[in-house]
């Protein structure tokens, strides 16, 4: 074990952890904004109740996304300073723009929304949640543009004197084809999580509190959430398909690693499940769909998909001796788990919709269990998706330009990075337990009573009046 290993583990743990909260923030901010807009348009109290109810769950989650996000920005400099020196000219710009353009918008308007119920005119208050939602979604674009540079570096040159990457074409960085497709794929994946949460919580109350006065609101929420999940999963599939073709083009090794495809094939079949030896020399069991991988990778059922062995040989000639192959079991399984968990959530959403057809009220215990599992499934899909895309890039930190092992901080000792890894793991684990318990508590509590709303009243002295919301 050396500082490099620990720094990599820390990046993996803190990033996957951060991205447990981000999808919910991205998706739920928009869904809550839609619910509040519906209340605004119809005046129906049901939508106000749902806005406040899901808004609370959103905020419990939001806080975690914010605080774990600061770590991400600092971590590049702390653990990966040679990487930061190498790409700073390019990579720093989207990060700075993300903060200036997106984070300020998000954080300021979230504050206005949380505390502004009795301080802002209704329209301005509604605009606040939309501004926060736009800020959140916008932030995803910039950070994905930065990440896409690591997958498919564009718009730069290597300065021959300093050996560093220098920006030559910023629009090219922002319109990197990997970024353009990863952004909608990530957003769709986020809405899959947010829709699933809306369904799970709604379904719990539909089945458990059958005679509640708010059953109508919960029924609406489960249907609304289910449709979000279905549309999002269709978008995930559609964007994922395009992403696969781009990946085959710019990172062929990652595609081969996703499939455990050792030898070049044309046409190539898609492996649903293969169990064999790690080096691909022996297959024990294989379930394959002919032509499918060729089609996914190239759009042509007879297209050529390059195998790991050929690519490894090609890279060794191109970049010098060494291994350019990711850890195949990790990429192979994470790719499959991503797809399976994501699609499982969509299947349950279909069941939930079916169970409520023509005004029926579901009561099945099994449906409830499946519904409660829903938010976890797309979260796992998101995590495995990131594990796949980052592990599939290895051994590169910037594909074709810098190896991960050359990006680590030289001045940071093993003891230091071990201290930091341990501290983050401990505090994150503690906070995870607290956060989940709070979410469950507030999800169980159900929609709030909104009969005592606080209208804006500037004409009277309000020195004695309680705030509509206070920490």
């Amino acid at each position: 074990m050396d500082a490099l290993d620990v720094a990599r583990w820390q990046f993996g743990v803190t990033t996957v952890y951060h991205f447990l909260f981000v999808p919910l923030t991205i998706g739920l901010s928009v869904l809550v904004a839609i619910l509040q807009t519906m209340w605004h348009r119809t005046g129906n109290e049901r939508y106000l109740k749902l806005t406040k109810f899901y808004g609370k769950l959103f905020l419990i989650n939001f806080a975690m996304g914010v605080v774990t996000g600061i770590v991400q920005e600092f971590q590049f400099g702390m653990n990966w300073s040679d990487y930061s020196r190498f790409v700073g000219d390019i990579f720093g710009a989207p990060l700075a723009i993300e903060a200036l353009v997106a984070f300020f918008l998000e954080s300021t308007f979230i504050g206005l929304w949380i505390f502004g119920w009795d301080r802002l005119p209704k329209r301005a208050h509604l605009a606040s949640i939309w501004a926060a939602a736009i800020g959140t979604n916008l932030s995803a674009y910039f950070i994905l543009a930065a990440n896409s540079f690591m997958q498919n570096p564009v718009g730069f040159r290597i300065n021959p004197d300093s050996g560093r990457a220098e920006l030559t074409d910023f629009p090219a960085v922002l319109t990197n084809k990997v970024a353009l497709i990863t952004f909608p794929h990530t957003l769709a994946g986020s809405f899959l999580v947010a829709g699933s949460l809306v369904v799970a919580v709604g379904l719990y109350h539909v089945i458990r509190n059958r005679d509640s006065a708010d059953t109508g609101a919960y029924r609406f929420a489960t249907k609304f959430g289910s449709w979000v999940v279905l549309v999002a999963s269709a978008a995930v599939l559609f964007t994922g398909d395009i992403q696969g073709k781009i990946m085959t083009d710019v990172q062929p090794m990652k595609m081969a690693a996703a499939e455990g495809l050792y030898t070049t094939e044309s046409p190539a079949s898609f492996s649903v499940l293969t169990i064999g030896s790690l080096d691909g020399s022996r297959e024990v069991f294989a379930l394959k769909i002919p032509y499918l991988l060729s089609y996914l990778g190239t759009g042509d059922p007879n297209g050529t998909v390059h195998g790991i062995n050929d690519l490894q040989a090609q890279y060794a000639t191109q970049y010098g001796a060494g291994s350019y192959t990711p850890i195949i079991p990790v990429t192979y399984w994470s790719f499959r788990f991503m797809i399976a968990f994501g699609m499982a959530a969509a299947a349950i959403a279909l069941l939930v919709l079916w169970s409520q057809r023509k005004g029926r009220t579901p009561s099945s215990k099994w449906l409830l269990r499946a519904g409660l599992a829903m938010p976890v499934l797309p979260l796992l899909a998101n995590s495995f998706g990131w594990i796949f895309t980052e592990m599939g890039r290895q051994p590169w930190i910037v594909f074709g330009e810098m190896l991960t092992r050359n990006g680590v901080s030289r001045s940071v000792s093993l003891a230091e990075v071990l201290t930091s890894f341990t501290a983050f793991t401990l505090i994150y684990a503690t906070l995870a337990v607290i956060e989940v318990k709070l979410l469950l508590r507030y999800a169980r509590a159900g929609v709030p009573d909104v009969s005592e709303e606080h209208p804006i009243d500037d004409t009277h002295d309000d020195a004695e009046r309680p705030l509509a919301f206070a920490y």
Partner: protein, 332 residues
Amino acid sequence: MDLTTIWFLLVAVLFTGYFILEGFDFGVGMLLPVLGRDDRERRVLINTIGPVWDGNEVWLITAGGAMFAAFPEWYATLFSGFYLPLLLILLALIARGVAFEYRHKRPEASWKRRWDTAIVIGSLVPAILWGVAFANILRGVPLDADHEYVGGLLDLLNPYALLGGATTLALFLTHGAVFLALKTTGDIRERAGALAVRLGAGAAVLAVGFLVWTLSIRSSAAAVVLAVGAALALLGALAAARVRREGWAFTGTAVAIGLAVATLFAALFPNVMPSTLDAAGTLTTTNAASTPYTLKIMTWVAVIFTPIVLAYQGWTYWVFRKRIGVANIPQH
């Protein structure tokens, strides 16, 4: 003015904004057990910064991002070199941010007490360590010819840096007390006003000592003028606090903190991280900077978006301009 100088100024402005804004957040957090005698009073204190603390913290994220984009070498050397202090700051900011949001989520006294501790420690640690870190940047740290930090943790704990930490601690405490006197009503307002006067006297002594020591390490005409301005603003704040002119007192501490941070940056220029070893290790606005192309793009982004951000953040403060007191705190 060339682009590297503009970006040095912008990074300085972002950190100055951060310390002015989150300075009073930290102060309020640290004063929680001092000025909040019971749960309702503590909730008054927390709610004075409730709607704004998150937006204030984004100044740090933007300052870090701007440093990364405009001076990647500075960002890389500073963040890897000051590893453990920054780790502690991160852990503190995590605990504190979650605490604001979660504290009121359960009614049990033990639950609230734990989050109160997180708020106090989470505010205290960065209030001290930011001072230590910036004092060390100014004083210079051991950097080799590759700009890599070669010192240890103990190199960062020198007397000058510790005085820097004590100074930011005292300034933020005063700033927080003055802010609370401005934003609360009744008994809390009285106590905060009285405490601000006592804290302010201590902060003035520390700040003057720290600034004089700073100028003896490295100095420029601009730095001297700014330091004198910082000291005068602090004395003005103290005088205003004494006669309970709360708006002026807050303006005074805000200007004092702003000018004190500006003094450090002015004294530093054109270096950004001087080395105490090899002169070749010193990072300057030139050898730490990004290419002119990157700086030009970032300048456009900053010119367009900074005024927009300032406008809506300013508007937020106006929306929440009302003082709050114990009577305004709802039961739940």
